[in-house]
């Protein structure tokens, strides 16, 4: 698996990738370096997966699997790409599989029942009024629905572009497609999102 993940990725920048160096230390048996990598990427992986599958418990389960696979692959790891490219490739692969396996069949129902998965702490205002909170929840609901309505690859591309601030080239490597295909994916995805969310300005 890791060999297949690494194939086709450019390796020019990998030499300077600090994460890749840490992973090489993990390969040599340094468990502390794995802890550093986990600290650094835990949140972004969980949050990416959460926005992909829109269920916190499933997202954490998948994130555990991502890091477990990283650890398992330590002995065969080769820094042929940026570490995060490899990491998000595993995460995207698992998220797409999870969505296709129908583990999130009840996604729509959960989205309809906002109280399930939208705790008060997600509201930015420290002390929002009831009205503010309701408006916020309604907007959030709309955003979540708009994202979940996107085709899976477009969704992954938008999430990596918007929240992980990845370059087109890196998204292309994660999704195993060309850079122009990523631009096209993103253009279509944002076109759909503009149609659904532009009124929120």
């Amino acid at each position: 698996m890791p060999e297949r993940v690494s194939k086709g990725m450019g390796g020019a920048t990998a030499a300077l990738d600090l994460d890749a160096e840490l992973m090489l230390r993990v390969k040599e048996g340094d468990g502390a370096s794995f802890g550093v990598l986990l600290d650094k990427h835990r949140s972004s992986v969980v949050h990416f997966l959460y926005r992909m599958v829109q269920n916190h418990a499933v997202a954490e389960e998948l994130a555990q699997e991502v890091f477990l696979r990283v650890y398992r692959s330590r002995s065969t790891y080769e820094p042929t790409a940026k570490f995060t490219t490899w990491l998000f490739r595993i995460a995207t692969h698992l998220a797409l599989n999870s969505l296709r396996d129908g583990k999130n069949e009840r996604l729509q129902e959960r989205l309809d029942d906002d109280s399930n998965d939208m705790p008060v702490r997600q509201v930015r205002d420290v002390r929002p009024s009831v009205e503010q909170s309701m408006v916020y929840q309604a907007r959030l609901h709309e955003v979540r629905q708009a994202i979940s309505a996107l085709p899976e690859k477009q969704r992954a591309a938008v999430l990596m572009h918007k929240y992980e601030e990845m370059e087109y080239s890196q998204i292309a490597r994660v999704l195993n497609c060309s850079e122009s295909a990523v631009k096209s994916l993103l253009f279509r995805a944002y076109e759909t999102l503009r149609a659904r969310l532009a009124h929120m300005a």
């Binding site: 949140s43 959460y50 954490e60 994130a63 555990q64 631009k183 999102l193 503009r194 300005a201």
Partner: protein, 163 residues
């Protein structure tokens, strides 16, 4: 400049502009164009609205016990092979019993292989099986080979000692 919206490749620049990801020079060029192009202005405004809407979506914090659960899984993952071979370790100490068991195992395996030979597996299935082989499986197989090699050395040594 030509309107970037007329080509998907260059329209990506507009996305970059709205996300403020462009370098200063490109940002300024697009800003000048947007000031005179109503189509791009509309695009930029609606894209900014989308950007802001997405920013409002904060993910929940990661569970406090995430690492503990992960390390437990790592530990379990690493020790399953140990647990599998642990009951066999006393047999290794009593090598004559182990040798008999190994002989029976080899005979059974050979018998199974001979029985399966006429059935030609589908090519696609073969490929799928190969893809599913994990590196740790290979490691474990090598460990098992090492263990058998040690065992053989012990058997030979004790046989030599008896002679």
């Amino acid at each position: 400049m030509n309107c970037p919206l007329h080509d998907r490749e260059t329209a990506a620049q507009l996305l970059g502009y709205c996300a403020r990801k462009l370098d200063t020079e490109s940002q300024a060029i697009l800003e000048r164009h947007i000031a005179v192009c109503p189509e791009c202005l509309k695009f930029a405004e609606s894209q900014r609205a989308v950007w802001e809407a997405l920013e409002a979506w904060e993910a929940e914090p990661v569970s406090a016990d995430f690492d503990r659960r992960l390390y437990r899984r790592i530990e379990e993952d690493g020790t399953w092979w140990d647990r599998l071979v642990r009951p066999l370790r006393p047999l290794v100490r009593h090598w004559n019993v182990a040798a008999s068991a190994a002989g029976v195992f080899v005979l059974l395996a050979a018998g199974l292989l001979l029985n399966q030979r006429p059935a030609v597996p589908e090519a696609a299935k073969d490929t799928a099986q190969v893809e599913q082989v994990q590196p740790e499986q290979v490691e474990h197989a090598l460990d098992a080979m090492d263990m058998l090699a040690d065992f053989n050395r012990q058997v030979k040594a004790s046989a030599d000692a008896k002679m």
